[in-house]
Each structure stands twice: as structure tokens, then as C-alpha cells.
């Protein structure tokens, strides 16, 4: 249980750090990368504290003693961090499904026609902003003759999903 306790405390310490940094100033650039630095930086610092040192031992607080426990802590903490990052990405970008439901709910008494939903959620909002995100993340670039082309980084990401979706025998998605 020490692993769960120490892992949870370390995670919430990192979360609070992230929360307060975001409250002071929301960083520019890739949030996922910055969050990874914050969460794993806190983990490294936390691992040094929660080891069996005299201060922790005398205070009676939970500590980690053996190498397998450290490994288990690392697996638990990494899973928790990845789960949070997955949730964070859902907060960052508005999901079209959730937007549709919200727009219809805002017009609950009169309802909405399909065309009215399409007028609000158009190509500019649903597609072009994601193209801009991909350019910012250096996954695609715009050539001189105004054509979007994929970068090596983008191709690696695309191939992971193309391969996995072909194993699933699933269509393109999106």
C-alpha cells in the first residue's frame, strides 16, 4: 500500500504544481511536453524524499524501501500521468460530439436543424484550426505553392495509426 500512497501523494504534488503554474501563466508551446517535464521532474524529486531516510523513518510517514517497490511506483506513477495527459488533451481541444450536444442543449426548446449545426461548426472551426495545430507541432508544413505536406514526425504518427487501424481492420476514422 506504500507504493499507492507515495505514488498518489507525488502525483497530486505534481498536479498542484502544474495547476499553480497554469494559474500564473499558461505556457506557450507544446503543453504535453511541458506537463511531462513537470510530472517526471516531481517524480524524480519525490523518489529521493520518499526513500528510507532518517527523517522520513522517524516521522512515521510511508516510504519506499526495495528496488521492486520503486519499479512498481514508477509503473503506477507513469500510468497515472499518462491517464491524466490523455484527459488533459480532451480539455485542450473542443470535441465536435460534445460541441454538437452542447449547441443542441442551448436550443433545447426549439431544437436545431442539421444545417444550423453545420453553419456553427464549419470547416474553419473543425478542420482549419486542427491544420494550424499540426503546423505548430511540426507534423505538417505549407509549401511555397500553398500545398500542405507531411513531415517525417507527422509520417511516423500517421503510420502508427495506419498500421494499428489495419490490424483492427477498421476504416479511416475521424
Amino acid at each position: 500500500m506504500n507504493v499507492l500512497y507515495c505514488g498518489t501523494v507525488t502525483f497530486f504534488t505534481a498536479f498542484l504544481l502544474h495547476f499553480f503554474i497554469w494559474k500564473i501563466h499558461i505556457p506557450r508551446g507544446n503543453h504535453t511536453k511541458i506537463l511531462l517535464y513537470i510530472f517526471f521532474g516531481t517524480f524524480i524529486a519525490g523518489s529521493l524524499i520518499i526513500t528510507k531516510n532518517p527523517l522520513i523513518f522517524m516521522s512515521g510517514a510511508a516510504y519506499i524501501e526495495t528496488f521492486p517497490d520503486y519499479l512498481e511506483l514508477f509503473i503506477f506513477y507513469t500510468s497515472l500521468t499518462l491517464a491524466y495527459l490523455a484527459t488533459y488533451s480532451a480539455i485542450e481541444v473542443d470535441s465536435p460530439s460534445l460541441a454538437i450536444v452542447k449547441i443542441i442543449a442551448d436550443n433545447a426548446s426549439s431544437g436545431l436543424e442539421r444545417e444550423e449545426v453545420c453553419d456553427i461548426l464549419n470547416d474553419e472551426i473543425l478542420v482549419k484550426r486542427r491544420i494550424d495545430d499540426l503546423i505548430k507541432d511540426k507534423m505538417i508544413y505549407l509549401t511555397g505553392d500553398n500545398r500542405y505536406r507531411i513531415t517525417k514526425k507527422g509520417l511516423i504518427v500517421a503510420n502508427i495509426f495506419i498500421t494499428f487501424r489495419s490490424i483492427l481492420k477498421a476504416p479511416k476514422g475521424g
Binding site: A83, I91, K102, R130, R147, A158, N159, G173, G174
Partner: protein
Amino acid sequence: MAYLLLLIPLLGLLVNAAAQIFLYRVRPDKGLLTSIFIAFAAGLFALVLCALILYGEANKKDFSAQLVSDVIIYALLSYCYFHFLNLGETARRIRILRELAEAPAGLTTGELLGRYNAREILERRISRLTKSGQIVLKNGRYYIKGRAVLLMAKILGFMKIAMLAEESEIGLKWKR
């Protein structure tokens, strides 16, 4: 043996992923979500079975505490796998990347929108939301029927305000 025990949640995830792929390939008509739920249960079953066998050999005293820890790690990893599947299924960025990966000469905005556009995105989602009973079509107009997705939208909306201090990138107002 202590190192082997650490692999139990990972083994659960492996069973989960294998079962999910198998189920979806065999019965795609049942939908992705059904395969995810059944595969999660299969992975959990494999995890408990494996824990019972290995802990027995290791003669561990704190079996229940270790099992709780393994189940939590397994659930977290499964949640990440669910997001990975969801990215392939619904993420617009991934779809745009796929379209560009298939066009080595690149695509203009018009060509890209010809292959993938807001109308297609909305058609898919409206169909999905209607099938799952979240919205309903009456006399050519859509109304809210279920509350689950709306609740999820509100929770994410409030989290967005709390974390990013912004309402919505598309101007949706959550404070109501």
C-alpha cells in the same frame, strides 16, 4: 519473483488489447465500445487469475493490497489504451495526417477539404449520437434525449475554465 509480479498489470493490458483486436475483427458490427468493455473484463480476469497463481507461489502475505494496486494500474493503463483507440477513431488531426500521408505531393486546402471536411465530421457524429440515444430527430430538428454526453461536455467545460481559464475555442458558453 518480485519482478515477475510487477508484470501482472502489463500482462492484463496485453490480454485486454489482444481480446479487443480479436473481438473487433470478428464482430465489427457490435461497435468499438462493446469490444473495449468486453476486452477490459477479459484483461481483468487474466490479471486476477495470474495474481492468484503467482502470489500463491510467492507466498505473499499482503495479497489483497497488492491485488488492489495491480487492478488500479491495470485500469489506468486500459484507460490510456481506450484513448489511443479513440484517437484513431475520432481525432481530426490523425485523419488529416492520414490524408496527407497518402498524398506525397501534398494537398491544397481545397483538396484536403474535398477529402475530409466539417460536413463529414458532423454527419458521423450526429449519426453516432442519434444511435446512442443522446440526441433525437423530431420534425427535422434535433433535441437532447440522453444526459450522459451532455454531462461529460459540462464536466470538460468546467475543467477547461478551471485549468485553461478559457470558455471554449469555438465560443461555447459553459457558465450557465
